[in-house]
């Protein structure tokens, strides 16, 4: 069974890699690339509490929760791709000495922190602030892959073949640091993240309260040799009362127990089990719920409320306080968007032009790491709706090209509006013709038009200049003009979120 578990882990990690590889322009052909994100009940429950909506495949998370209620945290031990990665690092960093390994695998009360974190995150979600995705392991791994690992592979390939397209992300160093820390902490404690932090693990642990089968210890056979403690990655105390809410059901202890005292057994009737004290088999019933004080639970609720209040202190998140909060086409109105966006970064992974970037300050504290368009990196490709196709929660809706371009009603989806900076634009400020933005404007009819004006030049001669203007009724805010403006450092035409379709009417444009 232990070998089977390793096969499962390798298979799911490879599957995750393949699905991420498929999440790119030219490879995405309706494959269910969101299934790993969907399988997390933390994402599903968080999004449900925040938005009262279960989108697309998100129901898989509730199936996983039901499975956990029967079998325990098998997801952590057998499926989770981040868990497998951390398992590998922990295995590499394992000390030789059994004594030292036993010390490192001892249960610590700090492991209860993850339950408090989960409760706080879900409380915040119930008030409409969805931050679960920041610490959900699947969202974390997807985001790290999209923003750090895949671009690094691309750079490595670029060094060899000189052909790979470059991908770059703002704040990549930040995401890389978090990911490296999550990996590195395994050197100190095996599967540090899963034991102490992972809110998904905690949610699954809380669900395993009702398990029907678990690894249990036969007191008659156990010699207290401690081998199980030296191999338990979950620090679930297999040598005493095993903690089912911590156990990954990884089978390490069962495989290594020299006396076969540890076995996976059905535990339909726990009460009867504790009295099953005959001479042949005397079972130590497992603990199936974390020992949390009422105070820590109240603290978690308070922390959840504090998350909501704290992230909204600036007061502008849900208003129009952020000109650079330019959301991709199909994004829901800001309040609904924030209630659904997991910050998983899959949209940034599939975006063919690299324009979708993780927000740092563009969308306020609440919108940290949500996707925004940054025209320094790319532009919104006219005939593309990939970001909405992969969004697991429907924060970016699945729209058609016709809807995006406004066929046939003539009302395209505006993500913002372009504005000229007449202090920098060549025909306005430098008395030289340019026309790049007018030529590149991809909408038909063009949103940038020119007016010929006779002007007096510095040398006293007269000239006719072709000066560009924006027609806000036609501009969709794609940012191609900003991207291609010859003033590369700070373009003379820039897009702001003004006039975006999703904000509804009541704007002067």
């Amino acid at each position: 069974m232990k070998r089977l578990r390793i096969y499962y882990q390798v298979f799911f990690l490879a599957l995750f890699g393949v699905l991420m590889w498929l999440s790119a322009q030219g490879r995405l052909r309706g494959y269910p690339v969101t299934w790993f994100l969907d399988s997390s009940p933390l994402n599903a429950l968080g999004a449900l509490l925040a938005s009262w909506n279960v989108a697309h495949w998100m129901w898989i998370g509730f199936v996983m929760l039901a499975l956990t209620a029967v079998l325990g945290r098998v997801f952590c031990g057998w499926v989770c791709p981040l868990g497998t990665l951390l398992h590998g690092v922990s295995w590499l960093a394992e000390p030789r000495s059994a004594k030292e390994r036993i010390t490192r695998n001892r249960w610590l009360s700090a492991q209860n922190f993850k339950f408090v974190l989960t409760l706080a995150l879900l409380t915040a979600a119930a008030f409409g602030v969805l931050q679960a995705g920041l610490c959900d392991p699947l969202a974390l791994l997807t985001r790290s892959t999209a923003v750090v690992l895949a671009p690094m592979l691309g750079e490595a390939q670029h060094l060899i073949t000189r052909t790979a397209p470059e991908r770059a992300f703002q704040g990549a160093a930040l995401i890389a640091s978090v990911f490296c820390a999550v990996l590195a902490l395994n050197v100190w404690r095996p599967r540090f993240w899963c034991r102490y932090v992972c809110p998904l693990g905690a949610l699954l642990g809380a669900a395993s309260r009702w398990v029907l089968g678990a690894i249990t210890r036969d007191l008659q056979r156990c010699t207290n040799c401690g081998v199980c403690e030296s191999v338990c990655p979950a620090a679930s105390s297999p040598s005493s009362t095993i903690k089912t809410h911590e156990c990954f059901v990884c089978w390490n202890c069962v495989a290594r127990c020299p006396e076969a005292a540890l076995q996976w057994r059905w535990i339909f009737n726990r009460q009867k089990m504790s009295f099953a004290n005959d001479e042949k088999c005397r079972l130590n019933p497992p603990a199936t719920r974390p020992d949390l004080s009422r105070r820590s639970l109240l603290g978690a609720l308070a922390a959840g409320v504090a998350i909501v209040a704290g992230l909204r202190l600036a007061g502008t998140t849900r208003r129009r306080g952020f000109p650079l909060r330019i959301r991709p086409p199909g994004a829901l109105p800001e309040a609904d968007f924030l209630e659904r966006c997991l910050k998983c970064g899959l949209c940034m992974k599939v975006c063919p032009t690299n324009v979708l970037q993780p927000a740092l300050t563009e969308a306020g504290a609440e919108g940290f790491m949500t996707p925004v368009m940054n025209m320094t990196y790319g532009y919104c490709e006219l005939n593309c709706t990939l970001c909405g196709q992969v969004c697991p929660t429907g924060a970016i809706q699945r729209i058609t090209i016709a809807q995006k371009l406004g066929h046939p009603d003539g009302r395209p989806i505006k993500t913002g509006t372009a504005f000229f900076d007449r202090g920098r634009c060549l025909p306005w400020a430098m008395q030289r013709n340019c026309l790049v933005c007018q030529e590149i404007c991809p909408v038909s009819p063009k949103a940038i038009y020119t007016v010929d004006e006779a002007v007096l030049l510095n040398d006293g001669t007269r000239a006719v200049l072709r000066r560009p203007h924006v027609d806000p009724a036609r501009c969709i805010g794609c940012g191609l003009c900003q991207r291609e403006c010859p003033l590369e450092d700070k373009p003379a035409i820039r897009v702001s979120a003004a006039g975006e379709t999703r904000a509804g009417s009541s704007f002067y444009l």
Binding site: E439, I440, S444, L480
Partner: protein, 99 residues
Amino acid sequence: MHQAIHEVIADLATFITPTLVIMDGTRLLLSNGPTGGSAADVAPGNVVAAGTDQVAVDALACTWLNVRPGDVEFIHLAAQLKLGSPDWRALPHFKEVTV
């Protein structure tokens, strides 16, 4: 490059003198180009020009787009640089063929 587009086009033409120039006017994008043109902006031209004088072929193609060759500055500049002649009708072997 766009700030002195006519000089740039003429200068680029001095680099290489093509042996044969072919201009395809089967479909003509008449407005909203080059990026924004939609199918509605395309007119059927159904013409093809071939020649050894790049300036002459360019001047001829201007007429397809309803532009007078005399209004296009880079054609003037190219003629000044002796890259060819904008008067395609005066070429010794000029011939019109209908297929």
